[in-house]
């Protein structure tokens, strides 16, 4: 079990959360200007890093806000959490 620190509600069990994949993936401002390859890259390609990983979580069963968690994918240690715009 992971204990995930929601920036608003504090540490809660991972049952309450939904995983949202890697963070820092802004949607391209002009998708129509991209090639198919660039668009597919945005849609599907992720780094799947080993070690420190910034990822998105949603506190689905709690305050229903999305936020960012930094987690070590090897040890599952949570290194920090923060809101969008703040630094985790």
């Amino acid at each position: 079990m992971l204990l995930i620190p929601c920036p608003w509600c504090g540490p809660r069990e991972d049952d309450e959360f939904t995983f949202g994949g890697e963070a820092d993936f802004p949607r391209p401002a002009e998708p129509e200007a991209l090639t198919d390859e660039q668009w597919a890259d945005y849609l599907f390609m992720r780094d799947n890093r080993r070690g420190r990983h910034r990822e998105q979580w949603c506190h689905t069963a709690g305050c229903r806000r999305w936020f960012i968690v930094e987690r070590d994918t090897v040890t599952n240690e949570i290194l920090g959490a923060g809101t969008y715009g703040g630094s985790p």
Binding site: W8, C9, G10, R12, E13, D15, E16, A61, G62, C63, R64, R65
Partner: protein, 201 residues
């Protein structure tokens, strides 16, 4: 003119007592007004306008409530609150809030029909809840005035610590209510907890 459809509370078939005992350990509080309110917490004017209408400040501290008068304001998110009030105020309260917030970026939605409140009270309360909830609800951690949205026996629920009897209000969706009610009776069986019925009331 057709006769009006009688209203039914989500637990009307489980709690059949005409007038549940006011000090019951496990009762539904049916037909309350539930309003979902959203506005930006930095909008001081909107906060003041709401305060004017409901008589209490919206809680800005996560997972707390403010109570007083007829309305209880419960924190749901940084820009979202649940207002609980007596049922007869529903339309008037919505209209008053919409008037007060007309010039602000805000929304007021009447969700009274979508959820209900179960009140659990008495010395066994924490034991009953602990069987289905991972949160530490002990008063030193979760004092009266605290609230939390979490999972209770895997159902989404909003827990509100009302007083140190202890008394908890459990807000659940209408469709989950019979399940949560059955679970509470099961969890509370060793303490003799059950909803008041016309036989027992």
């Amino acid at each position: 003119m057709p006769s009006p459809i009688p209203r039914r509370s989500p637990l009307g078939e489980i709690q059949s007592a005409e007038s549940p005992p006011p000090d019951g350990q496990l009762v539904e509080r049916p037909f309350l007004t539930h309003l979902n309110l959203r506005l930006h917490p930095d909008d001081a004017e909107a906060l003041a306008a709401v305060h004017q209408v409901i008589g209490v400040q919206l809680p800005l501290t996560p997972n707390t409530i403010t109570a007083g008068g007829d309305v209880t304001a419960i924190w749901l998110g940084p820009d979202e609150w649940l207002l609980l009030a007596e049922h007869h105020q529903s339309d008037a309260l919505v209209a008053d809030l919409q008037d007060a917030l007309a010039s602000h970026f805000a929304s007021v939605v009447d969700i009274s029909a979508g959820q209900t409140v179960i009140r659990l009270r008495g010395p066994s309360t924490l034991d009953v809840l602990a069987r289905g909830c991972a949160l530490d609800l002990h008063p030193t951690v979760f004092p009266p005035g605290a609230c939390a949205q979490t999972l209770l026996a895997r159902a989404q629920a909003l827990l509100v610590a009302v007083d140190d009897t202890p008394t908890f209000d459990i807000v659940v969706r209408r469709s989950f209510a019979p399940y949560v009610a059955a679970w509470l009776e099961d969890s509370g069986r060793q303490f003799g907890l059950h909803f008041p019925t016309s036989d027992t009331a």
